[in-house]
């Protein structure tokens, strides 16, 4: 792998057609998050961040099933999706570090990644806010007769907020080309899902809008991919929205300060056995697509690249105060 810079996004996205490259991307996401965690611990990053370890399979399969012209609304837990969709680690890390070269120029931060070239709208720090927006993008596609699709990715906790309900109903009644992907990682902040809703099989909420609701093992990249493929092609064919519930697990705490002491004993460990990276790696070796050595080499290359990225980003320029005055109105005031 070589350092990818802005402009190569789509190529980076298309590389995922290769199963080995899919594993590589998942590995990159995992390691990227570890680095972000370290940089925080070292005081080199300001504010807060939300790591996505445990949901790499979902992020990568989503990227694989979408076209670069499709649109994604995601959340503050969005580093993995950004990387999966094709954003290079430099752009993402620079933003997280508030650098001038970050994807928003350093005014957004970890919760606000954006790359129109791969269809990523500014990620949403408000729970649920991205669902109606995805429906709206789909409305545009439908109105213009385009075969593009919009996808909203959101958490289990977001399924309890009003925007979820309104967006699904709107999409259902208008048969919009949108897929609602619920990343059910068992927790919303420090609350286990069963503390905040009696219905934990969230795909069943699709019934309220007479649309398909499909659960899937979100730790399994192939299974997830298959379900998303079906949902995306339904949308693209004009058959309306689907609610996909990917059952995943949040390996990290909610945000950087969180040690996740509220987890029942053994829960994390049980889920770790189903780590999407472990599963994907074993499948590649078992299927003969790559040897242990191939993968070890590839992992080393990713590690080295991320070293180089981290070094380059840290040395990059900070924005000047003028940055906060730009991009507020269409025409500079």
């Amino acid at each position: 792998m070589t350092l990818v810079r802005s402009g190569d996004h789509v190529a980076r996205r298309e590389a995922l057609a290769d199963p080995v490259a899919r594993y590589e991307r998942m590995y990159e996401i995992r390691r990227f998050e570890e680095r972000v965690n370290d940089l925080f611990a070292q005081g080199l990053i300001h504010g807060t961040t939300h790591l996505c370890a445990g949901q790499e399979a979902l992020d990568v399969s989503l990227a694989l099933e979408l076209r670069a012209t499709d649109i994604v609304t995601a959340t503050y837990r969005g580093h993995g999706i950004a990387l999966a969709l094709g954003m290079p680690a430099t752009d993402v890390l620079a933003e997280i570090m508030g650098k001038a070269d970050g994807c928003t120029g350093g005014v957004g931060g970890s919760m606000h990644l954006c790359e129109p070239d791969v269809g990523l709208l500014p990620t949403f720090a408000i729970v649920g806010a991205g669902l109606p927006v995805a429906a709206g993008a789909a409305l545009a596609f439908q109105t213009r007769g385009e075969d593009r699709v919009a996808v909203a990715v959101f958490g289990d906790g977001a399924a309890n907020i009003g925007a979820f309900h309104e967006a699904l109903n709107l999409a259902a009644v208008w048969k919009l080309p949108v897929v609602f992907v619920c990343d059910n990682n068992v927790y919303a902040e420090y609350s286990r899902i069963d503390l905040t809703t009696p219905l934990t099989d969230l795909h069943r909420r699709a019934g309220s809008y007479d649309i398909p609701g499909v659960p899937v093992d979100g730790m399994d990249v192939d299974a997830t991919r298959a379900v998303l493929r079906e949902a995306v092609s339904r949308a693209r064919a004009g058959e309306g929205p689907t609610l996909v519930e990917a059952k995943t697990y949040r390996f990290a705490g909610h945000s950087r300060a969180d040690q996740a002491t509220y987890r029942p004993e053994g829960e994390l460990e049980r889920w770790r056995e189903r780590d999407p990276l472990v599963l994907a790696r074993a499948a590649l070796v078992a299927g003969g697509a790559a040897t242990e050595d191939d993968l070890a080499g590839l992992e080393k290359a990713v590690d080295e690249d991320l070293d180089a990225v981290a070094e380059a980003v840290a040395a990059g320029p900070d924005p000047t105060p003028a940055a906060m005055f730009r991009n507020i109105w269409a025409v500079a005031a």
Binding site: G105, A137, T143, R326
Partner: protein, 338 residues
């Protein structure tokens, strides 16, 4: 030049915009088949069809959010909010999302949406359907807010709002929908955002009004006939400092006329800014003519008193011009508010 109703001017602006630009689509509750609860979309479904003219479920947060998404991918959606209050569940999408997309995308994702909402008192809709609430939007860099005061500005500001690359909220004084006025349509009828109008010139006193208080202020000024300049602010954020400051430089006196309570109203921003910028040219204390700090009452006579009418404005301005002092509003003069 045709005299048409304000609601017809709005429907014309929508249809002209939809003819001019295929990316304009409109939606809201009962705006398609029923042509709008206030008939502001008459004829549009018939002309533009059900893809571009849509009835929505009762889901203000959902469809305002949908406007954000549609705008972010290149449409120019116009969402209708029947009564401004209904934005109380949708401010997130306007203030915290739409207004910030350009900033959060390094200038690459604009959100050229328009939200139209009816506002204000005067028709007996009661306290939950008669507020103006432009304060909900006024502290939001990236979001523009315009308020028409007659058929021409209803047409022209809406055309500008739809062409504007930023999110714009147009607050339409509901009481005006049925009023008639002259209205030039087409490009010649477009009224720019951010520019105040000066429908009456004078050099003794600057009166800044907005929306439904413009005509009352004008009528009061006619009666007094003593060099009163009346400014129709038209765009309340960002507002036209130049025009107002130039007027005050000439008159040395400033009064704002608001239909709603003083607290939290737009008048404070005008008075504060002008005072800071033009302190030495002020010859008398600037002040605000407003409703009292109470919820809008239902009873017809009470509702009529709530918002400052021609008589009240005339009284306060006359007293002010005569004495140079700030007059009491009716509820203090009459000792009504204990």
């Amino acid at each position: 030049m045709a005299r048409i109703r304000v609601r017809q001017a709005i429907a014309s602006a929508l249809s002209d915009a939809m003819r001019e630009d295929e990316s304009v689509l409109i939606f809201g509750e009962d705006i398609a088949a029923a042509e709008g609860p206030f008939k502001t979309s008459e004829g549009l479904l018939a002309e533009f069809g059900p893809l571009r003219v849509r009835d929505t479920p009762i889901s203000e947060m959902g469809f305002v959010g949908a406007a954000v998404g549609a705008a972010a991918v290149g449409m120019r959606p116009v969402a209708e909010i029947m009564f401004m209050e209904f934005l109380g569940v949708a401010l997130d999408q306007l203030v915290t999302e739409a207004a910030k997309f350009r900033y959060l995308s390094n200038g690459r994702v604009g959100v050229p949406l328009v939200v139209r909402a009816s506002v204000g008192s005067g028709l007996g809709f009661g306290t939950q359907h008669s507020q103006t609430l432009e304060n909900w939007l006024g502290a939001t860099p990236g979001l523009k807010v315009a308020v028409p005061s007659d058929a021409q500005t209803a047409y022209g500001l809406l055309r500008s709002a739809i062409r504007d690359p930023d999110p714009v909220v147009v607050l339409e004084p509901r009481v005006l929908y049925a009023e008639r006025g002259e209205c030039v349509t087409g490009d010649a009828g477009i009224v720019p955002l951010g520019v105040a109008r000066v429908p009456r010139e004078g050099d003794a006193l600057t009166v800044v009004a907005l929306g439904q208080t413009v005509r009352a202020a004008l009528a009061a000024a006619e009666r007094i006939d003593a060099g009163i300049e009346v400014i129709d602010l038209s765009t309340v954020t960002p507002w036209d400092r130049e025009t107002v400051l130039a007027s005050v430089a000439k008159t040395g006196r400033l009064v704002t006329v608001e239909e709603a309570p003083a607290s939290g109203g737009w008048g404070a921003e005008i008075v504060a800014t002008v005072t800071t910028a033009a302190f030495r040219s002020l010859q008398a204390p600037p002040f605000r003519i407003t409703a009292p700090d109470v919820p809008v009452p239902y009873n017809k006579a009470l509702e009529a008193r709530f918002s400052p009418g021609i008589g009240e404005i005339e009284h306060q301005l006359t007293t002010y011009l005569r004495t140079g002092e700030v007059p009491d509003p009716w509820w203090l003069r009459e000792g009504v508010a204990a």
